[in-house]
Symmetry: D2
Subunit: 296 residues, 4 copies
């Protein structure tokens, strides 16, 4: 199958279920909501090693927020038992201190609720209170700059992580700009995040390693600089560089839409040879998203 | 003492020693170095709760980097025994994946060296190698986009955390813009970081709490919305909001310069009533930086 | 009338008809489309003195563009007889040179068409050609970086300029942040631009001056620092600063929506005393937009 | 001559003398100074067609500004007789309205002074005044947001325009990222600007055209998509795209430093085949900057 002259390999992305929370930061200006959200979801590229796999989803206008201020939606994903800690720490350490920020639950159809705001109340040292604002139960914590408002509870549900595709370019720079175009297109899709820096992973990994203690290592089959040492290398002759786009979302459908939009954007960039996807023989996840099916 | 008509309280910031690493990310453009650095030091506002207290220090031109590419310097601080883990995780999870990034040690006068790059080599799954580039010992790890280069070892030394001052404003917005001006001025000072979102802490804390299990809680003496409930409140009648600037650095002298530059910038903004500082009766740290001494 | 405790004065904005073009820049990434658009509409704050009153309207996703690349929509307004020159110059000098940019007509319901792309063809020095792409007639001009594509003709129609409101704040900083919130809210409204820096005018003007040769001068009735010298000053006792938001758009309805969204955002910011609007006794324009009617 | 494996052609950039002003915008935060400066120098890519060839030079810290606020330095260049108009219009229409902005002369060693601030005073409608601030003669104009301060006079001197080099890449994307790296490196050089969007010109031109009425047209010798139609084409077989970096500055020496830094940055990017320069047989300008001499 070809799109815009670029081969779309007949393969699949191997994704898996994870737990996801979706939080909305509002602030006096969109800029401050974004600054807070970005630092709160920082150091959150992968579940292996980070306190949650996280990302900013998008900015929303004041028409879409409870307190009618501009806002930014982010997602935090991880194992169920860790979700409460991740939310407590990321909201507590990064969003309570963000100038003028309030934090709201923004997850549709939650399967469970975690009393994260309620647990954060202790920071108020006895001066905190419960309140109802905009038909939501909130905690009000006096802080130096005024009052910090956080919703009492935050929903979590089973989402999907590990949606992905690979962009193979005839130069590193063609592949990089195509990856940037793809990541940019995905920022327009609701319900998904791309947790890596700038939405791009320069170092796609495989499950396992020859080093027994390591859970993931470089995906050597797709590393151009060692293709002469790897007989089974998947790097075509005219490819010098590969970037991976990794996508998490609140549902498989959202992730599929994002993959489709991202691939469509990448193949429009000159210098792209092929689109592939990362899979691991089924060892990682049960959700197989075939690239060709995205475009039917 | 007054500066530009604003009272500088005769008090001191209570800071303390901590361990600090200083890393340089270089990339094909300044933009990519910055994107990687920002996500790598994200979720790093405070030592209590985050894996290190971190921040971006500044961008540097290609004349100041080993590989003659543009770069961004960041700092990671924390307890000595945690420093290796923090560096391994933040570089491994966030900078190996950053498009075109390399990572270098940028700490002057280190007291010890941690073999962080050497430990990251395992990600190469046997295809990694050691090399010498620009008179530095580096690890070369093949990744999808090319090769990832990281310095073999990174220095650490005793630095200073908790430098701070408080900006008391007649409106929340005056205080916020003064805080932004102060944080901006500090970005021009070498050797320091401001770990909070946008360089500003909206929720300054005190050591301890009436809740015994809590190590830090809202600094109720400086919370304007509860001043009627706090007889010993330090909020003057014409103050509605307070923001704190927190500064960490590679030495006390760097932190002092940053405090002076930040305060000088803040008092130039109209609507500022007073500058104070956070201290805790000596319970937190042995380094007392008196505000008045900064301007002698 | 009060909104969120802020007085909305019972007055009107005096707007007027002007001619408007709406152009779409697409590029390989959203970032490059935006960079080109911003410089192309630069030096375009007011019809008096600038070659057109211009602004960026918003970024659009690849689903909304002819060539399925990301893009940025801008507006250029001015007297009818000048429109062709303005478009030729701004596209020719700023968008032909923008890396990877193409330029498309994005005006709904044009009243006339100007053959701007056709006239720009001469830059091709004989190597230019006409083509049909995505069901549009385009000019293809070979340039150093590849081919520059521009639509053959661009529509113009009668739009509305001079929509506005005034934000009166108890401090300059409260007024400024409210103005920023208002300008931000308006960026979410389709079909409008705010031509001033950051969407904000710090120096609202009136028609005419005591100096006969001057067509516009400072709106002294709303200048806080001279209110003691201006008996008829409209500055209330507790107001220290005023910012104006000026809005142009492809129709009066679009401008009305933008005014409503902008005012709604401004009154949510603490420290705002009053919202007013600029009018000139009917001497400037025949379109009177009453503030109170916006909220019926 | 080769640098980092990239051929540096033995040719020269043909530059010429022009008049230059250098203005400093200060504001309450660096962000507002930058926003004002960018719009004020917008629509200023080339002397042919724009009211001045302009650009932002760099941000400066409060230690480098008269009023000890953060600032942004820009340059405006053009024919001597037009300089006063350009300054009046760009400052008057774009910087008087910029929130919290003041404007200062920042040109070293001026050859003449233009009373631009003095002429702008009329906007004050009789409420303006002269003052001395920070040992400079200024005009104080009451505006809605407070007072606008502008220096009485601005220096101009003979500078240099048209410094340039060409980046020839094996793909458009390699050439584009190399151009971005080059433009970024030049932002660190004092005394120069790069007037094109993002510092990059995608459509380098030659003097004259087969169309007699046209002063400049596409540099067909360097256009890859028509090389089969141009027997004397200078496009090597493995080159698909060329970007030009154009540099103006307050002196030839500044422009030379910028060319050297820019070329050094470009050749470090993979996928670059050759560096050349634009010249026109001496028909444009008398200043010939040979590429090889830059690296002696």
């Amino acid at each position: 199958m070809k799109m815009n002259g670029v081969e779309i390999e007949d393969t699949y992305a191997e994704a898996f279920n994870t737990w996801v929370a979706r939080i909305l930061v509002t602030a006096v200006t969109e800029r401050w909501a974004r600054i807070g959200a970005e630092i709160a979801v920082g150091f959150g590229t992968t579940m292996i090693g980070c306190p949650g796999e996280c990302g900013v989803e998008r900015n929303v206008s004041s028409n879409e927020t409870p307190d009618s201020r501009p806002g930014t939606i982010s997602q935090i994903t991880g194992p169920k038992k860790m979700m409460k800690d991740y939310l407590l720490l990321r909201i507590g350490q990064c969003l309570i201190p963000t100038p003028t920020a309030s934090v709201w639950d923004a997850l549709p159809d939650p399967q469970e609720k975690l009393d994260v705001g309620y647990r954060l109340r202790f920071f108020g040292d006895g001066f905190e209170s419960q309140d109802n604002l905009f038909e939501r139960k909130v905690i009000r914590i006096p802080i130096m700059s005024g009052d910090f408002i956080v919703e009492h509870s935050f929903g979590i549900r089973k989402g999907v992580a590990g949606g992905n595709f690979l962009i193979l370019g005839e130069t590193q720079k063609s592949a990089l700009i195509a990856a940037e175009a793809a990541a940019g297109a995905i920022t327009k899709v609701k319900g998904v995040i791309t947790p890596f820096p700038g939405g791009i992973c320069a170092s796609g990994s495989k499950v396992g390693s020859k080093y027994k203690f390591l859970r993931a290592s470089t995906n050597h089959l797709f590393c151009p600089t060692i293709k002469d040492k790897v007989p089974e290398s998947k790097i075509p002759a005219n490819v010098k560089s590969v970037f991976e786009i990794v996508i998490d979302g609140i549902s498989e459908e959202n992730v599929r839409v994002a993959m489709r939009e991202g691939i469509s954007a990448a193949v429009k960039v000159s210098g792209i040879v092929k689109i592939s996807a990362g899979n691991y023989g089924g060892s990682l996840g049960p959700i197989h998203i075939r690239l060709h099916e995205l475009f039917k």
